[in-house]
C-alpha cells in the first residue's frame, strides 16, 4: 500500500484519495452532477481467421487457456459471483495463473466470497497485487488491516458495468463460469447441474475484455440456448469436472425471518406502500433475499390480494416468493438480476415471463436510462443510517469491511427507496449522527422503517402528505434515534479509524463517494 496519499474533499465533505492505484479520481460532485465525456471503451478487433472454422474453441485446461490469452505480469483478471459462495472457477483461474509464474495481477471479481479466502495467500506471494471488488470476511479484514498492496475499490453492480464500459477498468482476461455452454462459447446460467439463473454479472466482461474464457461443467452440442453470453465474444472454452458446489450456489429454500420484531418491520413496510398509494395496479417493486425483505413480499402479497392489485413487474434477486407472485398472476413479469433459490432457477428456465437481466439493463448509470429507476419502490437494508438519511452498507460501525454494495446504490434511484432495518442490533444503534462509511447520499434515501416507527426523508413532502392521517407510526428520525440511544444507554463511542485509506467507495457514476480507512 502506498503510504502518502493525497486527499481531496468531495461534495459531501468526505476526504477521498485523489488517485487510486495510480489513476486520477474525480471526487463525488453530487447526484447527477458529473458529466462523462469521450467514447466507450472497446476491445481490440479480432478476426475469424484466428479462430477455428468449425467453432470448436475448446482447450484442455484453464492454464492453457490463460497462456493462450497471453497472460502476463500486471494483467487484470475478472471473475463473477453468479455461483456465489459455491464458485470454484475464480480460484481455479487464479491458481492456474499462479502456476504460470505471473506476478502483480489485479483481480476484478464482481463480488468475492468467504470461500475465496485463498486469494490472501496469492496476495502474500505477490501473484495478486490487489482486488477491486467487494470484500468481506477474511478478505475484508486483510484489506482494512492495510495488508493489501493496492487500494480496494468497491463498486455497485451498475458501477462495475460503468467502470468497464467507460474504460476505467480495462479487463485483460475475463473468466466466466458457465453452468451450460457449447464449444463455441455460447453460455447459459439457467440449465445444468450448477444452474444459477442469470449470468448478467459477466455481460460487461464478455463484451469489453480483451480475452474471454468460458469454463463449464455442462458442455452441450452447439447451440447452447439461450445464449446469455454470446460465443462470438469468447476466445476459449474449458471443460471441467465441476464449476461449483451446488449446495452453496443457490439455497434450497430461502428463509423468511421468524423474529417478531423483524416481521413487524416487514409488515410496516408493506403497510406503508399500501397507505402511500404506491401499491396500485401496474406498479413495480424490488426486494432482496434478506429475511425482512422476504417477509415484506409475503405481507405485500396478502395486501395486493385483498385490494385486487396486480404488479406489472417485480425485480429480483428472485426467490420462491417472487415466483409465487408470478404463478398466482400477481405480477406480469420478474426481471431478474440474480437467482437466490432453486424455485427461482427453475422458474427462469421454464417461464418466459421470468427474464434474466444484466447490470447493463438494470443498473448502469452511464447509459440511456436503466430499470432500477423505473421501479416504484425498493426495499433494502443497511448497517447504519444517519440523521440526514445517509446510509452505510459496506462497513461495520467499527470500520471493518462487511458487505459489497451489490445493486444497493443503483436501487436508490427507485421512485421510493426504503431501508427496512431494526433500530438497534445487540446494543448498537443503527441510526447515528454520521455514518462510518458513506454508501448512499441521504437525498437518495426516502424512508427508514424500523420496529419503533417510520421516518420519512423531509425532502419527500409528497410521501409525508400521502400518509398523513393514517395510523402509521410516522416519526422524525431524530425521535427514533433519541429513543434508541436512551434504551442503549447513550450514544455509542466513535470507532477509532486510522488515517491510511485502504479502499474507496465509488458512486454509480465512477466518482469517489467515500474512503474506507485502515482499522487500528
Amino acid at each position: 500500500m502506498s503510504d502518502q496519499v493525497e486527499l481531496a474533499q468531495n461534495a459531501l465533505g468526505r476526504a477521498v484519495p485523489a488517485t487510486v492505484n495510480g489513476k486520477a479520481q474525480t471526487p463525488f460532485m453530487g447526484v447527477g452532477k458529473f458529466e462523462p465525456h469521450g467514447r466507450k471503451a472497446a476491445p481490440p478487433i479480432h478476426s475469424n481467421k484466428d479462430y477455428p472454422d468449425n467453432g470448436d474453441k475448446r482447450v484442455p485446461d484453464i492454464e492453457t487457456a490463460l497462456r493462450k490469452c497471453g497472460l502476463s505480469d500486471g494483467m487484470v483478471i475478472s471473475s463473477h459471483h453468479h455461483l456465489r459462495d459455491g464458485d470454484k472457477v475464480a480460484m481455479m483461474a487464479l491458481e492456474a495463473a499462479a502456476r504460470t509464474g505471473v506476478k502483480d495481477l489485479m483481480w476484478f471479481p464482481s463480488a468475492s466470497f468467504p470461500s475465496q479466502k485463498g486469494a490472501i495467500e496469492l496476495m502474500e506471494k505477490g501473484i495478486i497485487h490487489h482486488i477491486e471488488g467487494s470484500m468481506n470476511g477474511p478478505l475484508g479484514d486483510y484489506c482494512t488491516q492495510g495488508k493489501m498492496r493496492g487500494m480496494g475499490v468497491l463498486r455497485s453492480h451498475g458501477g462495475r458495468y460503468q467502470a468497464v464500459q467507460d474504460g476505467e477498468v480495462h479487463i485483460d482476461i475475463a473468466v466466466i463460469a458457465a453452468p451450460t455452454a457449447d464449444f463455441f462459447g455460447n453460455a447459459d446460467g439457467s440449465h445444468g447441474k450448477s444452474a444459477c439463473g442469470s449470468l448478467g454479472f459477466a455481460l460487461a466482461d464478455s463484451i469489453y475484455a480483451d480475452r474471454v474464457i468460458v469454463v463449464t461443467d455442462n458442455l452441450i452440442p452447439f447451440p447452447c440456448v439461450p445464449w446469455q453470453i454470446q460465443g462470438n465474444n469468447v476466445d476459449c472454452v474449458v471443460e471441467v469436472e465441476s464449476i461449483g458446489d451446488p449446495s452453496k450456489i443457490v439455497s434450497g429454500t430461502t428463509q423468511i425471518t421468524r423474529s417478531p420484531d423483524r416481521l413487524r418491520i416487514a409488515e410496516l413496510t408493506a403497510t406503508f406502500l399500501r397507505a402511500a398509494g404506491i401499491m396500485k395496479n401496474g406498479f413495480s417493486f424490488q426486494a432482496g433475499a434478506g429475511g425482512i425483505a422476504l417477509a415484506f413480499v409475503q405481507y405485500l402479497k396478502q395486501m395486493m390480494k385483498e385490494d385486487g392489485v396486480k404488479a406489472r413487474f417485480v425485480r429480483g434477486g428472485s426467490t420462491k416468493f417472487l415466483v409465487e407472485l408470478l404463478q398466482e398472476g400477481l405480477t406480469d413479469y420478474i426481471l431478474d438480476g440474480q437467482t437466490f433459490d432453486l424455485d427461482g432457477v427453475k422458474s427462469m428456465a421454464n417461464d418466459a415471463r421470468h427474464v434474466a437481466t444484466s447490470p447493463f439493463t438494470s443498473y448502469n448509470y452511464h447509459g440511456k436510462g436503466n430499470f432500477a429507476s423505473l421501479v416504484d419502490a425498493v426495499v433494502l437494508g443497511a448497517t447504519e443510517v444517519d440523521v440526514n438519511f445517509n446510509a452505510n452498507v459496506v462497513t461495520h460501525s467499527d470500520g471493518r469491511l462487511l458487505h459489497g454494495i451489490g445493486g444497493w446504490q443503483n436501487c436508490l434511484f427507485a421512485g421510493c427507496s426504503i431501508l427496512a432495518l431494526p433500530s438497534f442490533r445487540d446494543r448498537i444503534p443503527v441510526i447515528v449522527d454520521e455514518v462510518t462509511t458513506m454508501t448512499g447520499p441521504g437525498e437518495m434515501v426516502d424512508v427508514i422503517v424500523t420496529e419503533r416507527g417510520i421516518a420519512i426523508n423531509p425532502l419527500r413532502t409528497d410521501l409525508l402528505d400521502a400518509v398523513k392521517g393514517t395510523k402509521l407510526p410516522i416519526r422524525p428520525i431524530q425521535d427514533i434515534k433519541a429513543e434508541v440511544e436512551k434504551i442503549c444507554g447513550g450514544k455509542p463511542a466513535k470507532p477509532k479509524l486510522g488515517d491510511r485509506p485502504c479502499a474507496v467507495v465509488k458512486w454509480v457514476d465512477g466518482t469517489v463517494l467515500d474512503t474506507v480507512w485502515q482499522v487500528e
Binding site: 417478531p260 419503533r452 434504551i487 444507554g489 455509542p492 463511542a493
Partner: protein, 403 residues
Amino acid sequence: MSIVETASSHSGEAGHWGKDIRSDLHVLFEARDSGGIEISLESRVAPYYGAAIQEQARAVLAELGVKHARVAIHDEGALPFTIGARIEAAVRRAGAGLGKRWLPDQHPLPAPSPKERLRRSRLYLPGSEPKYFINAALHGPDAVILDLEDSVHRAEKDAARILVRNTLRAVDFGACERMVRINQLPLGLEDLAEIVGQSPDLILIPKVERPEQVEEVDRMIEEIRTRNGITRPVWIMPILESALGIENAVAIAGASEKVAALTIGLEDYTADLGVAKTAEGRESQYARSRMVNAAHAVGVQAIDSVFGDVGDMDGLRRWGESSRAMGFEGMGCIHPGQIRVIHEAFRPTAAEIAKAQKIVAAFEDAQSKGLAVVSLGSKMIDPPVVQRALKLVKRAEAMGAIS
C-alpha cells in the same frame, strides 16, 4: 443456555454468554481482601460501549458496597438494566452486597391500571430472557407477564427476580399492563419482596387452591406498598390449576379486593385429572365453565389459559372465539404472533355491536323521557339485555372497535 451454580462462598457467577446468546452477559465475581476492583471485559459491542460497561460495573459494585474484587464479564450486547442485574446476582451469590441493591434509572410509570381494564391478551416473557423484554410492547398486547415461575429454571430464580425488578423499573412497556407471575408460595413471597417496590400492575399467583394463599399475598403486597408509600394499585390474578382450585374458585375470587381476574392453567389442571389435554378442550369444559361462573359471581374477570401451538392460527382463532362465547374476556399468549388473532377473536362482531348500540340508544332515549320501560320498535327490552348491551358497547369502545 448454561445453568450456573454458585462456585463458592467467595465467588459467584450469573447470566449467560455464548455464540447464540443475545442481549445478556455472564459475570464471574470473586471477592478479595485488597487490591480494589479489577474488571476484565469481553464484549461484542466493546468498541462502542466497552467504556460504558466498565463504568457501569464499577458503579454497581460501589452501590453494593464491594471494594475489592475481581470481575470477569462476557457481554453479548446486554442493555444496562441487564448488566446491573447480572452483576448484582453474581455478587449476591458470592455472599456479598447483602441488603444492598443497584437500581437502574426509573422510566416514567404508565398510568395506574383500572381494575376492570381490557385484558384480552397477556404476553408471557420468560423472566431470565432479557432479549424479549425491550420490544414486547411494540406488538401491542394488553399486558406483558414477566414470568418467574415455569419458564425460569430452579437454579435461576434468584437472578431472574433481580432482572425482573430492574425490568419493571427501566423498560418502557408503553400502554401494556405490567404483570409478574411469581413462584408458588412460599418461594413467591421472596419474589414479592424484590419486585413489589417497583409497582407492578398485577401479580399472578400460580397453583392457587385456597383463599388463604391469596390473602397471604395480599398482606405482603400491602405491607410493601405501605412501607414504600406506593399509592398505585397492585392487582392479583390467581391461577387455578387443579381440581381443588376450581372447586374453591368463588372463595378464591372473593379472598381479596385486589383480585381483578381469575385465570386457569390447563396443563396442570389436566395433569391433576390425569387426562390428555386436547385441542378441542372437552376435558376442561367443566372447569372453565365453573371458573367463568365463579368469576362473574364475585364480579371479577374470567381469563382463559394459553393456546400452545404457535403455528396454528386457525386453531387459536377457534379457541378464542369459543372462549369469548363462554364468558372469558381474554387469554394468554406465548408468542407475539398470537396477539392480533386473539384480539380479533375477542372482538364483538359488527352485528353484535350494531344491535347493542341500538339498545343503548333506546335506553338513553327512555332515560331522557323518564320512562322505566325500554322499548325498541314494538319490542320491550328486558333490563338484563340493556345491561349486557351497555357492557358490550363499553368494551367495544375500549378495543377501538367503535370510534
